[in-house]
Symmetry: C2
Subunit: 730 residues, 2 copies
């Protein structure tokens, strides 16, 4: 089967760079037409080629291609900006600068031209905002052939190579590249705890202090290694310090404008003191979140314990579902409300840049995420296990609720006097979160959306066919036969949601949390995560390719606030692990025999105190050690800097410049020529000068006319001393 020209064109997406979905579904058609005029004119004005095709029923597809010259200009513009902000060492040369090096750079440069303010030579298009409200979305097209080839390739590999990661970065940009690199590094690091956890499970059993220590140390090493790796990647991908290039937060409302000393222009400002006051609202927000979500979870938890472990009456097999039903109905509602509050709060804090805004929002969401993810296990470990005996009698209040449905005979079967804690509860809970929840999540995240999307596209086709009087769907669009397949693909992609690495990174951070906080309970946790993450990497890639629009390549030099989250979780792990080991062992959970020793508070707290401080000391040592490791790109960067200095020196049109530092940059430069000038000229010059304008210090400096005279005097003094010595000796 040979590829027809049309197949080739299809593979390259007909050279389309970006597609705009322009929806005209609103009531005002004339306005839509006028704005379309404006849009097309602007695009042409900035130098883009456009083609219009029908979209779905109430939208147009505008295809955008950047001709070679526009593309060069766009790339050059972004490179100059990089250079000005210190991201590149050398000033890009307009004439010799090559075109974009990769898909991601090309798409990023074009995106910049499409969205930059018109003052900066861009088209200033902001989807769904102000005069662009008809612009529904702006997206590049997936490169299906490459994507499929990669998926096929990776499904046969255990590890992605550095080249694979570079390719992801070249296709999807640095942000996605960082996510996959993180996932890959995490996966690679998991081998050790998986092996150790497995052998520990075989030999040491549950709640092993040895496993807890090794696990904590591993967490530190991993987090610190990733910090270093991140720097290495940032240098490798030339994005170090890219966060200075922040983009404006559209919802920023300045309080006043001040004249900028530098530019002489009015600059919108919002005083930091005021923002700080508003940020203080985070504290009540966090408290409310903890209390609200905590109350829901704790109540359901209490009901569940009562029903499953205390209650023994009728309908037990049905009643056990009550807490689950309650939890899965109330928790999402509470989360949604809190998320909305977090969003409002972040907007109220009024950040100037989009990046600050996003980080502030993520931080608030972390509180909610932590509670929903970890609180249940925390309650079991630190309330149920040590205090069950104290608390369970109070659960009698639920008996009152049950009474109407229970006959007095049955009521006797509610026995809490012989209550004994369930030694497997904690472990089962951890297994649930480490295995079952991961599998459920995989289905919810990858399989289900794919099925739903197929169904919805079928339904859409069906309803369109119906609307067009049962004609054939494609005929409704009147597409050119060559383009039918391509336009079908584009229409499908236009319907997909936009991808954001945040959710995937959050999921990984939460997963890391289970590992660092609770894996002492069941040392097979890392084994489960190891398998899960092999799949996760591939399924996430599949997800990006099939279930989302192709993301606009964005740059990043870090995984952002998640890095701090990982560090924080590792730290908390150093507190929970020893506490779990101590509590579980004293309650006999490790052997399951249920022999309970009294919990000694001072011993528990002292264990935690030392464990935490040893953790901090180890972290300090590992941090210091990591900075010593010279990673390839970091070494490369150092050499680059030296070369740049050399180049700069050679550019300076100066005969006698000699500069040196630690790295001996200029050894050999200067020197000889210098000698000639200075030896005579400088000295004579100086002597001559002193004759011209007489200064009070002149007599002092004229006693010895030049260095030879000074030497004579010096020798005379040495000799005179010598002679006094001799005299004395005589």
């Amino acid at each position: 089967m040979t590829a027809t020209p049309n197949d080739v064109a299809l593979q390259s997406n007909y050279d389309v760079d970006y597609v705009i979905r322009y929806s005209f579904g609103g009531p005002d058609r004339e306005e839509a037409k006028e704005q379309l005029n404006h849009l097309l004119q602007t695009l042409a004005g900035v130098g883009f080629q456009t083609e219009v095709r029908p979209g779905d029923r109430s939208s147009l597809l505008i295809f955008i291609r950047a001709p070679h010259k526009s593309l060069l200009r766009a790339t050059h513009t972004t490179r100059v900006r990089d250079w000005l902000y210190g991201l590149r060492h050398t000033q890009p040369d307009r004439d010799s600068s090559p075109g974009p090096q990769a898909d991601a750079e090309r798409l990023r440069a074009i995106y910049y031209m499409l969205t930059a303010p018109s003052d900066d030579g861009g088209a200033n298009i902001t989807p769904k905002f102000g005069k662009w409200k008809h612009v529904d979305s702006l997206f590049p097209l997936h490169d299906d052939k490459t994507n499929q080839a990669w998926m096929r390739d990776w499904s046969k590999k255990t590890f992605l190579t550095n080249e694979d990661l570079d390719q992801i970065r070249d296709k999807f940009g640095e942000q996605v590249g960082f996510y996959f690199s993180f996932l890959q590094t995490y996966f690679r690091f998991l081998f050790f705890p998986a092996l150790f956890g497995f052998s520990s499970w075989l030999m040491l059993g549950y709640y092993s202090p040895v496993y807890a220590i090794v696990n904590c140390v591993w967490c530190v090493v991993f987090v610190e290694f990733w910090k270093r790796k991140e720097l290495d990647l940032a240098l490798r991908w030339q994005v170090r310090g890219v966060s200075v290039l922040s983009s404006r937060n559209r919802s920023f409302r300045p309080e006043s404008e001040i004249r900028d000393e530098a530019t002489g222009e009015l600059r919108p400002v919002f005083p930091w003191t005021k923002r700080l006051q508003r940020q203080l609202l985070q504290i009540p927000f966090a408290i409310v979140s903890v209390v609200a979500l905590g109350a829901v979870i704790a109540t359901c938890f209490a009901i569940e314990i009562f029903i499953s472990e205390v209650y023994n009456g009728p309908l037990k097999s049905y009643l056990v579902f009550i807490p689950t039903v309650l939890l899965s109905s109330i928790l999402p509602i509470a989360s949604t409300i809190l998320t909305r509050v977090a969003k409002r709060l972040t907007e109220f804090e009024n950040y100037e840049t989009k990046e600050d805004h996003d980080v502030a929002f993520i931080q608030k969401m972390l509180v909610i995420n932590f509670i929903t993810s970890y609180l249940a296990i925390f309650l079991t470990a630190f309330v149920y296990v040590p205090f069950a005996h104290v608390i369970v009698p109070y659960l009698d209040i639920f008996r009152a609720t049950v009474r109407p449905f229970v006959s007095p005979e049955d009521e006797k079967t509610i026995h809490h006097t012989e209550f004994k804690i369930d030694p497997y509860r904690l472990r089962n809970q951890v297994i649930y979160f480490a295995v079952t929840a991961q599998i459920v999540n995989f289905f919810l995240e990858t399989i289900l959306p794919f099925i739903l999307q197929r169904l919805s596209s079928k339904y859409k086709k069906y309803s369109e066919e119906k609307a067009n009087g049962h004609e054939k769907a494609s005929a409704a669009y009147d597409d050119h036969p060559d383009e039918v397949e391509f336009l079908k693909k584009v229409r499908e992609e236009a319907d997909l949601p936009e991808y954001d690495t945040t959710d995937d990174l959050r999921q990984m951070a939460i997963q890391f949390g289970y590992l660092s906080l609770f894996s002492t309970v069941w040392p097979l946790v890392p084994v489960s995560f190891l398998f899960n993450n092999w799949l996760e990497l591939r399924s996430d890639f599949f997800k990006i390719c099939k279930e989302f629009k192709r993301p606009v390549p964005e740059r990043a030099d870090t995984i952002g606030p998640w890095l701090d989250t990982l560090g924080f979780l590792a730290w908390v792990g150093s507190i929970t692990s020893p506490a779990l080991v101590y509590l579980a062992r004293s309650q006999g959970l490790d052997s399951g025999d249920g022999i309970q020793n009294p919990i000694r508070g001072w011993m528990l707290m002292t264990t935690i105190f030392f464990s935490e401080h040893i953790y901090l000391a180890v972290r300090f040592a590992v941090e210091k050690t990591m900075t010593k490791i010279e990673m390839p790109s970091i070494a490369q960067e150092r050499i680059q800097k030296i070369l740049m200095r050399k180049a700069l020196i050679s550019e300076i049109p100066d005969e006698s410049l000699s500069v040196g530092g630690n790295e001996d940059v200029t050894s050999g430069v200067g020197g000889e020529k210098e000698e000639k000038i200075t030896r005579k000229t400088l000295e004579e010059d100086a002597r001559a000068r002193t004759l011209h304008d007489a200064r009070p210090s002149d007599p002092f400096w004229e006693r010895q006319k030049n260095w030879k005279e000074a030497l004579q005097i010096g020798n005379r003094i040495i000799e005179s001393y010598q002679s006094t010595e001799m005299k004395k000796a005589e």
Copy 2:
């Protein structure tokens, strides 16, 4: 009284920039002469003027002056180096660059020329090293008149102004400037705890939890503020990032040489893995230090308790001095040995730069400093107070030692059954360290050396007179009458030791430690430090001016490892303070009535746990808040950067460059001109290109010839949709 020309010359030190003390006291006089020849020739070669005068009995004084031209060249060289390493934003221009801006810059530039490798155009003089072994020291001369004026001025002021600090920096360089700025900031910050401590002493008494909390928070705020202030100062003094300009460690012994990819030259290297292994020796070193010094202190401590509180026999009034005598004889010996080991260890670790070497040495010394400074109080607070009852009976071993000297009757008076802990011991100890030791230290550090120095100079004069057969001393040198006074001053200064900020900074860090760790015991600690530090600042300045050679101005952008030390001490303070409060209150130390409640371990540990974590949370919040504060120089830096970008853009000879970022650097640049080029040319150009080399995607892009056609199609689609809608409506 009018100033004679000679007075004026004297005030300006006869325009002398540096003085070399050249000692020829060794056995080989001929070698000394030859090297003097070499030295003077080198100095002349690099462009310095020299004058030779006799020094003391076996040394010469070589006076060095840099003529204007050499000076300009030296300044320019250092500035270019700064620019290459990113310390200056703009490339210095040789012709228009002004001379040195301040004394410190002049002296630093000249020092660089004197000591830089000859490849870099310097004279490569290294005092007391290799072929320069006769060069005893190399130092600038004090500017006595200015120093005296400042001392007089400051003695009348409470606070130094920013201008005063700038002047210190201009005279003595940034490193000394940073020390005084730190001292000044610390002094200013002390007002709050001094006031609060005083009122707390009046109203809340000792061991007040309120005072402990306020003190901890104050420590955090101070340390974080200083971090910010340091950055501000570094920008104000243009030294930010100056640590990249590291100087070579003379004792560095490379393991091998590798060819540097960048310079193509052989570069000496020492593998970091090997250094890391050697650094591991720090751990046994720290353990040995702790054990050795700890054993000495603990033993003396035990003896002291036995004698002062248990023993009641004869000779008690003499015996109480035993521990003091032991301590003050053994401790210095142990410290000296450990210091020597630390020095050897640091050399063994083989650092490439002097800066790394110094930091590593300081870190090791910190262990020793901490033990000698704080261990005694720690033992009282955390061993004596809670465990005295348990431990004191074991002190009976000392009774065996005492027995030979004690009659059986007297022995009965040794009673430890009725032992009661001394409620004032801890407080008295803190008062000793906070008040008495500070005063003693002031005498030892400032007054005593001054007296000793006077005496030694008298003795020297006397012995010289004797050597010269009772002639008049000055006549022995045969000085010119005009120069007698000046040369006397220089000879005196040549005898002084060299100044280093390390000791003074260490002293302040240790002082801060008493405040953060133990001031809950006696809330007047900050009051004492407030008075002490007012004096400290002045006396340290006096010390530098009178008891040390004028320091060679060195640059720095931080107070170095001391900053971490302060942070560490504040952190430990958050652990010791609540522990002290809890222990003291449960032992009845606060009221002094000695009513003892049992110490509950879990409560103590829980208190510490929460206190520490609240401290960490507060520190995190304060850190975040501090970064929001825009300090004057930091704002200035931002503006500088914008201006630099603007300047760079204006230099680019490009007609259509439009670059923008967050700060809207280039608003107005580009734009209109652009429009003309692109609107027609680009589009036409692109269309034209597609005609030349046919590509598979061409048919797709040729359906609509330009944006107007695209618009027509678009409008038609919108209308057709409209008509279907209408049809349906009909």
